[in-house]
Symmetry: none
Subunit: 217 residues, 4 copies
DNA sequence: TCTTAAACGAGACGGTACGTCATGTCTTAAA
DNA sequence: TTTAAGACATGACGTACCGTCTCGTTTAAGA
């Protein structure tokens, strides 16, 4: 064990300033002209780093772009903890929408859009961006169920889909602003449901989902 | 005017077979290996056409891909009409998810992702794909409110966001399958809400949304 | 046959001006700073051509350099034809030495030296530079034998080695100038031999070559 | 002085085994795949040394290669002395050809070719390789003249050129093998000359060399 | 029929970026 | 103070596509 630690310590250390310059250059290029303008060559030139150095630490453009995005989230908003799962989720959604509405949101949109067909980009998105938020949301939803604030029969993952995914697509497709008002409406909708009269328990609903066929598409 | 028509009529006519071969090759390339694999060079080689010919008729890769997609569209599933707004929406969502889950859905996803910056691509998406479905959904939601099946105080557009947008993003980001099971869960979630105990009216909820601040992000 | 000719005629034709620009740039680079300074990148930049174009016509740096050298031999001296094989060979050797003594000789030296370990360079040298001269020399030697000017028992290829190879190595290793005087001395030496008294026929010599062992080296 | 000795003695001592490993690796790489395959990176990897260490002791690839060659030299074959100048020269040529035909000859050829522009390499060649052989040959030629075995009017240096230079260039350019048979043919050619009938004295020849002009080249 | 203009295949061309490799310098921790 | 490890800026490598541009052929309408 000690041997491994010692072995690891050999050689010149990673130059933090260079890494920062690379990430900064990458971020600027995306922000200025979109994901298509993000070239390894350009990043190398703008940052003053060698291409080798970039490839040493980021295996792909996707990895670099994702890291550039993540590293520029001006200190991530702290996970809310109001004691109410509903409030926490709403705040988390607002935070997400806000962070996506600024420059860094444009950057993210470029990354996701430009790298739509790049498996690595998607992986990085799931892992580094969506993942943490979902983990937080999942934890809060479970806490809400435990505290009796939320119904015990909800499908946690699907609730997370209903709450968070519209934010991403609205941003990416330019379908409208993700302001607090819209986020609150979305939260309220998913919270209260739309059926009238609101069912006392979910047990009353399932029969609706028995026989309906879907027509071919 | 007649002169122009005459002038236009001179010379060799556009070769329909060639156009079909080009669109077919483009579609196949996207379907087989994604939007990245769609290269003008590749389409020319696969279709037997010259690059000049492709550029003569399609100004960009996005235009070519869009045409390739449209030319391969199966006829749409008919709008459902079961008498129940909830059922109709569920069927419409299933239909959407199905049509996006096949090959042509993959092609569409690639196009949308790849052409995110292209206003024409987005316009086509809003007009041709999302628009009609939203119009149908809006109509059905209003009918459901009128019939008493749905609560009168819902925000129709936000409900449509909660119902349809997760489908698009799930498909485009490859976050998971859009099978009937997941669609039903989503429908049920939005229908019933998640709060416990389910509120009798939405009037009971708004106070939850008064004081909660969002932390900076 | 006609079909083949027609097939060949398809497509845009090779741009002679571009080829000339490329060869000129390559020649200049070698002449200015040696073979090491000859980079495909540099040639592309200096000539204004794309790298693709260079690689389309020359598979390697060696091929390009050789062609650049060959194309810059200001009109090759015509093959001499004085009626005497000895005179013709002497003139050919003088011509070779002269052409190797000028700038183009420096270029050749760079090519041969710099590409010494490159099989392609050697192949190009044999094929395009040494080959034609040897072919001429071989033909003249045979004519001299036929006319009785030269002895019938000489080994033509070895005579060519003795006459031409010293010129190349003297140039490449910088062992001394290849002026007319030296060339004439060399010619005279090979012509007359060095043995005393000159043997009437080669038949008198072979016994010298029977028993002598070589010591290990 | 003692202080200096002490100062010098400070720190880790130069590792002889490392130096040997470096030279061995360099030699092997040249022998295996030619001078091109000799990379500082490769030597470092193969020898287990750090690049810094190599650069500390050898300023250039040429220096390293030269050292690698010299350190692997077999002891030279002894100068022959049969009493016949012709035999001695023939044996010396065979010895040279043999020593250049082995692995170390390939290494030398690579070094010479690769380092053509390097004055030090050429100096080493002239001093260490060609020089001694020429000195020996010159001495023997003069002895042959004195003994009446060779004609008194020969140009000693040019004869040495005709005898030895083809061997070097044949090896370096890969124009063919330098086996005993070819060496003997070369010796015989220079010995006997090629003119027919063999001139009784060189005095009969010079007039051939009076008027012949060389055409421009 | 003959002309003429457009569409077409082929493919050469100037570029941009790719991802890899070797160079020679520098920095670190161990020996 | 030397060493092995290895990070670093530099710059060339050879390849893949881009979008533009000639070429000569093919087709079909108008003269």
């Amino acid at each position: 064990m000690e041997a491994e630690i010692l072995a690891r310590a050999r050689g010149r250390k990673r130059d933090e300033a260079t890494q920062a310059a690379i990430l900064g250059a990458a971020y600027d290029l995306i922000a200025a002209e979109g994901y298509r303008a993000l070239t390894m060559e350009g990043v190398a030139a703008k940052s003053g780093a060698g291409k080798t150095t970039i490839y040493r630490w980021w295996p792909s453009k996707a990895a670099l772009a994702t890291d550039a995005y993540v590293s520029h989230l001006n200190e991530e908003a702290p996970d809310p903890d109001t004691g109410s799962a509903i409030q926490d989720l709403r705040i988390a959604m607002r935070n997400l929408a806000r962070s996506l509405s600024g420059t860094s949101g444009q950057v993210l949109a470029c990354i996701l859009g430009g790298g739509r067909d790049d498996p690595q980009t998607l992986y990085m998105f799931k892992e580094k961006i969506a993942g943490p938020r979902r983990a937080f949301g999942r934890e809060r939803l479970r806490a809400g169920i435990a505290s009796g604030e939320l119904r015990p029969d909800i499908n946690v993952d699907v609730v997370l889909d209903a709450l968070f995914l519209p934010i991403y697509v609205r941003l990416m497709m330019g379908l409208g602003p993700c302001d607090d008002e819209w986020v609150d409406e979305l939260t309220k909708t998913v919270l209260s449901g739309i059926a009238n009269p609101p069912s006392a328990t979910s047990a009353a609903l399932p029969d609706v989902f028995v026989s309906a066929p879907s027509t071919a598409g």
